[in-house]
């Protein structure tokens, strides 16, 4: 059926022949573990094709040596031969489809795992430079294009191609003259098929675009339905939609006209060739060049000639799409990771000082974010990073957990450069808790358990208890086994944050890097989150990116970052006394705080509530 132009390929996606060769070579390399199955499949394919070809030959034998020669024995022999060939074809056909699908699906499974592992091994710079949607589509639409081919086209593509070639060989062997006449229509069919494929590809691309427009118009008017109704603009929205819908119909009808011109050519070529086989074949029989049986065999082989061409021309787009998808996937696998574990990496010590020395950093090809930063965080100390937007404090925090490597200088923990540390010890000692609680699909238990590999229920419960929220989650209908649904939509923002904190508690790191949330929560949860944070910070080295200066006030030490440099450092009181950047920031923050409150009366109300 003609679906909505789903099989269309854009010009820029088509592979050059050298690219195509490379894709094939790499695919073959990935198929190496399955070479025995591939070999068996190929042998089976050849025998299957031979069995499929044997039928008409048996008819020929039966007619010429049986019927014409009045030999019942040969006729029976031909019948048995045909039956055996058909039976062999069933058995082998089955084996073949099973084998090819299995190999194809194994290939896809390997490919999915490899691409995913590769993605996970990439450093943050890579993820910054690629839109998430594009990366996801590599693993979805691209791999799915391959899956469609494996499931629906691959076997047919191989079978048809081989059957087509083999049929021509048999025809030529049976009667070169008749074969030549028979194939007279072939160039017309081939040219028509190529043109059809080209034209319909263009038409389908248009269909795809128009369908996209219609659906996005619909989507938009559904999202904006309240505005449309509020302004009583239903009619004009209708007009817009109808015109898009009409454009989609026109594109569809154009695609139909293209196929309505193509299929008659195939039909005429088929029946016309039948006429040629009978007419020319008859003359050849009269002149005793060939037998009646040969004419009959030719007539029966006819389906093997035109059907495959038609199917191949339709499958061609699927194959082209799959090729383009494979190339994109291989290209992705070729991108080297920029953040790897060095050979001979060592474990970080249990405790130690977090030391930032002469660190400079710039995001891939952009302006310098940090320059010449020197900072030491003692074990058990709480340091607050403060500064305006874009000052570089988040970047500094990320460098401390080796989300990126510094461009200049070094960051060490307990005397070991983070770049020399094993990832497992690094992620165990230093943990970053992001602003918003990011949840994965799964249960609350699974979401907390992300924090440490192989954590059992007891460990997860301990973590929840540590931050004082075990009962809160236990009280849910399914307790810790409650599924959080898409991105945790079942939980409130505050609860998501609590899960995220529990995760960090489970990881039990020596150093905790906290990015304080900027968005507000409802007052009840806010208090819980604060309590949880306090529980989590107990006995750990903490670096907190403070958005509220009240947090900075409570820290052991404050570091002020501005324009990528460390401009001030000291305790809250010291810095206030110095009347520098921090004092200015604090004054404006306090003023803002004041202004925001409706009145002194309201302020009193806050205190009393």
């Amino acid at each position: 059926m003609m679906g909505w132009g789903s099989g269309a390929v854009r010009d820029e996606e088509k592979l050059s022949s050298s690219q195509a060769r490379q894709v094939v070579r790499r695919s073959l390399r990935m198929l190496r573990p399955y070479r025995r199955q591939v070999t068996v499949a190929l042998v089976v394919l050849v025998v299957y094709t031979l069995a499929m070809l044997a039928g008409p030959l048996m008819v020929r034998l039966g007619i010429d040596r049986g019927l014409q020669a009045h030999d019942a024995l040969v006729l029976n022999l031909a019948v048995v031969g045909y039956l055996v060939a058909a039976a062999v074809a069933v058995v082998l056909g089955r084996t073949q489809i099973t084998l090819i699908t299995r190999v194809g699906e194994s290939f896809l499974r390997d490919l999915r795992v490899r691409v995913f592992d590769h993605l996970q091994a990439m450093g943050m710079t890579f993820f910054d430079s690629q839109p998430a949607g594009r990366l996801v589509s590599r693993m979805t639409s691209d791999v799915d294009a391959l899956q469609t081919l494996v499931q629906q086209g691959l076997v047919m593509f191989i079978q048809n191609a081989l059957l087509f070639v083999a049929t021509i060989v048999v025809l030529v062997v049976l009667s070169p003259v008749l074969a030549a006449v028979c194939l007279a229509a072939m160039p017309v069919v081939v040219v028509a098929s190529i043109r059809f494929r080209r034209d319909s590809n263009v038409a389908y691309l248009t269909v795809r675009d128009r369908v996209g427009q219609t659906l996005s118009t619909l989507q938009e008017s559904l999202s904006g339905i309240r505005v449309v109704q509020a302004f009583a603009r239903e009619e004009s929205q209708n007009e817009v939609f109808v015109s898009h819908n009409r454009a989609q119909l026109d594109a569809n009808l154009r695609a139909v006209r293209i196929s309505a011109r193509y299929f008659p050519v195939i039909e005429l070529a088929g029946i016309g060739t039948m006429a040629i086989i009978v007419g020319v074949g008859g003359v050849l029989v009269h002149d005793s060049f060939i037998t009646v049986g040969t004419v009959a065999a030719f007539a029966l082989y006819l389906t093997n000639l035109f059907e495959p061409i038609q199917q191949l021309s339709q499958l061609f787009n699927t194959v082209q799409q799959a090729g383009a998808a494979l190339k994109k996937l291989f290209d992705l696998l070729d991108v080297p990771s920029d953040l790897t574990e060095r050979p001979g990496a060592v474990d970080l010590p249990e405790t130690g000082e977090l030391l930032v020395e002469d660190v400079g950093f710039a995001y891939d090809g952009r302006a310098q974010v940090l320059a010449d930063v020197n900072l030491a965080v003692r074990p058990g100390e709480r340091l607050a990073l403060v500064g305006p937007t874009g000052a570089g404090k988040s970047t500094l925090a990320k460098l401390m957990a080796r989300m990126y490597d510094p461009g200049e200088g070094r960051i060490g923990y307990g005397g070991v450069d983070l770049r020399d540390a094993t990832f497992s010890s690094l992620r165990h000692r230093i943990v970053v808790v992001p602003q918003e609680g990011f949840l994965f699909d799964g249960t609350i238990f699974e979401n907390v358990a992300i924090g440490r590999r192989g954590a059992d229920e007891e460990a997860v419960r301990r973590a929840l208890r540590l931050i004082g929220v075990e009962e809160r989650f236990q009280a849910l209908p399914q307790g810790l086994a409650t599924a959080v649904r898409e991105r945790g939509s079942r939980l409130s923002a505050g609860e998501r944050q609590l899960v995220s904190l529990a995760r960090a508690a489970l990881a039990d790191p020596a150093v905790l890097v906290l990015d304080e949330a900027t968005s507000s929560l409802d007052p009840g949860t806010e208090a819980d989150v604060e309590r949880a944070m306090a529980g989590l910070m107990q006995g750990r080295t903490v670096v907190v990116i403070a958005h509220r200066l009240s947090t900075a006030e409570r820290a052991d030490r404050v570091a002020v970052v501005d324009h990528g440099e460390l401009v001030e450092e000291g305790t809250h009181d010291q810095l206030l006394a110095d009347r520098g950047r921090y004092a200015a920031l604090f004054a404006s923050w306090a003023g803002e705080q004041q202004r925001r409150h409706p009145s002194d009366l309201a302020e009193d109300a806050v205190v009393s509530s």
Binding site: T98, R112, D117, N238, N245, V278, S394, R487, S609
Partner: protein, 606 residues
Amino acid sequence: MSARRERPSRAGWQLLARAVKDQRNWVVLGVTAGLFWTGAKVAVPTLAQLAIDRGIISRDHGALLEWSLAILGVGIVSAVCTGLRRFYAFGISYRAETDLRDRLFAHLQRLHFAFHDHAQTGQLMARAATDLLQVQSFLTLIPITIGNALTVSAVVVILFVTNPGLAALALAALPLINVVAKRFASNIHPVSLELQQQLAEVAGTVEETVVGVRVVKGFGAEAIQGGKLRTRVDRVFERAVLLGRMRASFMPLLDFLPALGLVAVLWYGGHQVLSGHLSVGELVAFMTYILMLIAPLRMLGTIIAMAQRAVASATRIDEVLATHPAIVDRADGQTLPPGHGELRFEEVSFAYLPPEGGQLSDAGMPVLDRLDLHVRPGEAVALVGATGSGKSTVARLVPRFYEVLGGRITIDGADVQDLRLRELRRAVGIVFEDTFLFSDTIRNNISFADPDAPQETVEWAARRAGLHDFVADLPDGYETVVGEQGFALSGGQRQRVALARAILADPRILILDDATSSVDPTKEHEIRAALAAVMKGRTTIVIAHRPATVALADRVVLLDRGRIVAEGTHTELLATSERYRRLLAQSAREEAGSTTPQQDSEALVR
């Protein structure tokens, strides 16, 4: 709408039948083309038989030429008709699909707010996309199936007339093709749905890992996510291999059954030829006829499965179309009387009703309880209250987005239920909390209420909303495309476009439904000036929780559980109402969460 009525039903059939009826001229043409095609196609093997018997075997050159040319002639007819029947078949289905989509869209536009509150956009999109596609593919098959059914019957008749014994033997195995194809189609469908499901889960794991890469890396959870992916990929593998095995056991069988027929013909027919009861030509013709039956029989098998799915889809589409718009013009709809926007709520009660057949935990609870409210012409009233106090509901009842359950709402003396909907909504301008902008130019977004408005009017509205200077500085000015794929506006800018949109409509009553809450608190003062300008001299209802915005109103009304609990100016209420003070303090406290004058742009999670 969901899985409540998955089974095909009468409504679905009726929808399909009506769609076909609307296209009856095309259907007639398509079926006629199909008839001719069948006739031509069926004639070919008989002509070939005559050519073999009378031309080849009897060594008659003239007859051979005649019959061969006859085959060619029939071929031309068949070719032309196959093109036509294809053209008509798809013509019918695409036209029907387009009509249905038009209807669906127009209907969705008219459906009331309460419907859209409960409907999921994704579900409605699926009606217009996948369900219509199912219907379209099925409709295409109708004329083609009629042609195929005719072919099958014609061939069967010809074979039995020629040689009943041989026909019975040859055709014995063929109905099995139909059975096998049908079983194949219905067995494979659930498994391929399962595969789709598993693929979606793989996609989910990939997506969350990529989007949450900072968490994954931060905790070194790569191995956990990798394990999750492997489990899911293995499930895909297992389903896909199962599908392959199902294909493997069906497909070769579909080739084998006709081969059995051919073998039977060769054996029994061959012996009849030997005994002189059958000609060689007839034997070959029999074989060709059998080959001709394969494709139609396979299709007849799948069409039943497709019909079932199409009817299920049609039923789902019908469910949407059968939902009646709850809020429509009365038969004797009145025009809005002249006036300056005096608004009255008289003993208004309201509750959100649960959707038909569905359940909603907080539905049915009274939201407004015999509310009385009088807004004088030109007055600005601020509605204040905690979440669930009913303040947004008040705003939504004025333009009759929902129907009151008791009491009445009047504008300049006329009950909103008696007014023509179009006029009522033109008279009431509303700016929603979530500012929705269309993927269109800023100009077209502002002139949404009146697309023919001259540029000066658009600019005037933009100026009033404090937007003009910003827009004028854009490279494309008012032609800048905004919305999802367009230029990214900040929350405050979006809000101002929405405000300009409402100003341009020049409504008698303006409603600002929490219109500033999505604006960065530090930027709020900029839009506040615009609000004050717009409200001047116009009946306005402001729903807000930020004190500075509330203070813009002439009067403040404090709502609690659908009733007015305090009323007065901002200053009066501050002085007299403990509740009011507490409420404002609480919203201030919530805002204190984001007190630093900036949002850190390099947040750890994107």
